[in-house]
Amino acid sequence: MVGLSNEVNSTMSNLETLLSRDAYLLAIEIRLFWFVAIVYGVCLVLYLIHLTTKKTGPGRLGTNTLWLGVITHAGLILLRTFEGQRAPFQTLYESLSWFAWSASVTYLFVERKWKDIYMPGILVTSLSMGACLYALLTRSPAVEPLSPPLQSYWFEWHVVLAFLSYAVFVVSCSIEIAYLAVKPSVKKGYKLEYGLNMHNLETFHRQSFRLALFGFPLLTFGIFSGAAWANEAWGRYWGWDPKETWSLITWTVFAIYLHSISIPKWKGLPASLFNILGFICMLMTFIGVNWLARLLGIPSLHLYAM
């Protein structure tokens, strides 16, 4: 009896140690995540100062600070991977974190070739900060094991490529908006408007198209892998689930955008508007559909659980 009691005590002690360890790691993770969210916020403020003062100093500092945020965030994601012993994009908390990081990383990758152009950073950092705060303030940070439907080799491929496409579309849209905002002034002949002038404006704008072009096959793969996975898991590759349908809407809108570049009358402002519309559809696919499905009481196999 004593031996059994000792065994039970030892087991309980092991469990308590494990629980304490997990709680400690989660505490570090949550505080680190808050730090990352604040860093994104600081970057946003710096970019806004750049916007209002037209000085490049705050913009450059914003980009350098964003590097700090992104590197810290990468460490955070690795920590989460270690905690969960799996890829960290199951819950909405994790997906929001992943989205924020991938959008910022994509922006920094594209931005490195620009000289003193920081305007697109406003949208990117605001979305990244917003995603982080939404995760921290409203979603549960608990680390959960993968539920049976998610235990598939498709999980990582589908999510990584879909989110990479989302990140690319975010940066593409931010360039598009910056272009539309600055174009009238540049066309009027102002010498230097936020690093953009008559010589580099169209090259800058072309990046928006190239990014959307880059993201389109990734989104296509995201939809294809989702359909293949659904076929394996549920026996139906397409069920007009709200999430599936919104991803198709996003794909169709970007298809319209890419085709409209080849239509002379649609090449300019209409194409730009399609790009922005595609970005809005992407946000609906990622976040909006959860809210819409709950609001309208429509069941969805893709709803993120609280």
């Binding site: 303030l137 049976p148 898991a233 590759y237 709200p242 919104w246 809407i249 169709t252």
Partner: protein, 497 residues
């Protein structure tokens, strides 16, 4: 050309000149059709697809008259949507055909293009005859820069390309999308699905309650399949998931961040998180087990064109009140009214099988369920009270009555489906992805050049066209400049590099 061929050409020309053909060979038409389809898709996300009208109205659904008139609860099967999809298919077919004809007649256009103003001019500072200079430059493009001659030189104009032809790749993935439409059509016409509930030890015949649209339109009825399915064993596994003590409100979460408190995991009232549920199945044909497989979510059973998926499971419980030999039957998750007990009892999922604990050990679960008492007050407000765990063999007391779970029986719910469109969609989907990726990411270059004498010196006049995100015109020009600077002798095209 024979008379028949001449007639065919005339007819083809006439068809291609019709209003319908010209409209449907247009990219603008594709965009307009896409936009219309987006409208349908959005409607499909606002109105719950597949829902019954009564359920829709009961749950507070609005715009009922519109829903009925436009069949908004089944919008993707409405004739209007199908017609738009058909128009898109026709548009894609005509565009693909037109593009094919254009691709075959590219050569003339390319040569004509070569006569226009060049983008680059390089002086060639070598002391050679013009023919040798041409051979040297040709050698640079072919051997060093790995270009291939597209056509033999015409009027001294050379055309070379490198990389996969982006036009053909674009054509290929559009053609593959056409095949996808074909796959969707097969699914629409010939796919059928149904559900099957299997109890352990029972071989169940499979007769679909639904038939595909094709058979339905011919008045055919569903046929029983020539094999049976037996559930040898149903297995459930759970992970031990500690509960996280973490506030829900925003201010408290901010306080946590500032170090006011730390999150905490506890094992009190821990949840059993589903790890897996599996069915060990046997396919029985002619009285013999011809196939045995354990299926789970994401790992179905394929047999004779039918795929069986682990969809869900249900549990039948037998509840005893005091020592009454008559048992109440219920299902987990459903409410049960027991005479003498105020309110209704709801029995949660019976946890049984294996528990994978946090410390890596495993434990056989003694079957139990969570019991909740549901009461409605005078204002029809629902109150619930958690009565706790009810283990098999144990009991809980409510209203002086002892409630016990005498036995429970699990059944595995499988969904099964036959869909001949899936293989076509697989292959065409792969082709779409491959061709699209090569077209968009791959690098393709075309150079058109000629050598001209200017101011007593040969000059290389060149135009470059690139496609694909990996194509780098600047890098190509730099490499060419470097090669041209090092060019002192003619390069022998027959000698490998």
């Amino acid at each position: 050309m024979t008379i028949i061929q001449k007639i065919k050409n005339i007819n083809e020309q006439k068809i291609r000149e019709t209003w319908f053909y010209r409209r449907f060979a247009s990219l603008k038409t594709s965009c307009i059709l896409f936009l219309i389809l987006v409208g349908f898709y959005i409607m499909g996300t606002i109105f719950p697809q597949g829902a019954q009208l009564d359920d829709y109205i009961r749950s507070g659904g609005k715009f009922t008259s519109l829903v009925i008139f436009f069949d908004l609860l089944n919008i993707f099967n409405t004739p209007v949507f199908l017609i738009i999809a058909l128009l898109l298919f026709i548009n894609l077919t005509i565009c693909t055909f037109e593009r094919f004809l254009t691709l075959r007649s590219q050569r003339k256009a390319i040569v004509e293009d070569g006569l226009l103003t060049p983008a680059y001019t390089f002086p060639l500072d070598i002391n050679q005859q013009k023919e040798s200079t041409e051979e040297s430059v040709r050698g640079i493009f072919k051997k060093e820069l790995r270009f291939k001659e597209k056509t033999s030189p015409t009027h001294g104009i050379y055309i070379m390309e490198k990389g996969w032809s982006y036009r053909w790749l674009t054509w290929i993935y559009h053609l593959a999308i056409l095949f996808c439409f074909f796959g969707f059509l097969l699914t629409y016409l010939f796919a059928f699905e149904d559900e099957l509930t299997l109890y352990p030890g029972e071989a169940t015949a499979i007769k679909p309650a639904t038939i595909n649209r094709w058979n339905k339109s011919w008045g055919n009825s569903a046929q029983e399949l020539d094999f049976r399915l037996e559930l040898a064993e149903f297995i459930t596994e759970y992970n031990q998931l500690p509960k996280l003590d973490y506030p829900a409100d925003k201010l408290s979460r901010l306080a946590f961040a500032l170090g006011w408190k730390d999150p905490k995991y506890t094992l009190k009232n821990e949840s059993y998180f589903p790890k897996d549920w599996k069915s060990r199945l046997k396919v029985i044909k002619g009285g013999l087990a011809v196939l045995e497989k354990t299926i789970e979510v994401n790992d179905p059973l394929y047999y004779h064109g039918i795929t069986f998926y682990q969809a869900a499971y249900n549990q039948n419980l037998k509840i005893q009140v005091d020592d009454n030999p008559i048992l109440f039957e219920t299902e987990s998750g459903k409410e049960l009214i027991i005479p003498g007990v105020e309110g209704m009892l709801k029995f949660g999922t019976v946890r049984t099988g294996t528990l994978f604990k946090k410390d890596g050990s495993t434990e056989k679960i003694k079957p139990f369920t969570e019991v909740v008492l549901i009461k409605k007050d005078d204002n029809r407000k629902i109150e619930t009270e958690n009565l706790g765990k009810l283990e098999q063999g144990g009991g809980i007391y409510i209203d002086n009555k002892r409630i016990s779970m005498r036995e429970f029986k699990e059944a595995s719910i499988l969904s099964y489906r036959n869909d001949p469109g899936v293989p076509i969609l697989w292959w065409s989907g792969i082709v779409v992805l491959l061709a699209m990726s090569l077209r968009i990411f791959g690098a393709w270059y075309r150079i058109i050049y000629r050598i001209e004498e200017k101011d007593g010196m040969p000059h290389l006049l060149m135009k470059v066209k690139t496609r694909g995100l990996m194509a780098d015109e600047e890098r190509l020009i730099k490499r060419l400049q470097h090669s041209l600077m090092n060019m002192t002798e003619p390069i022998d095209l027959n000698t490998p590099v």
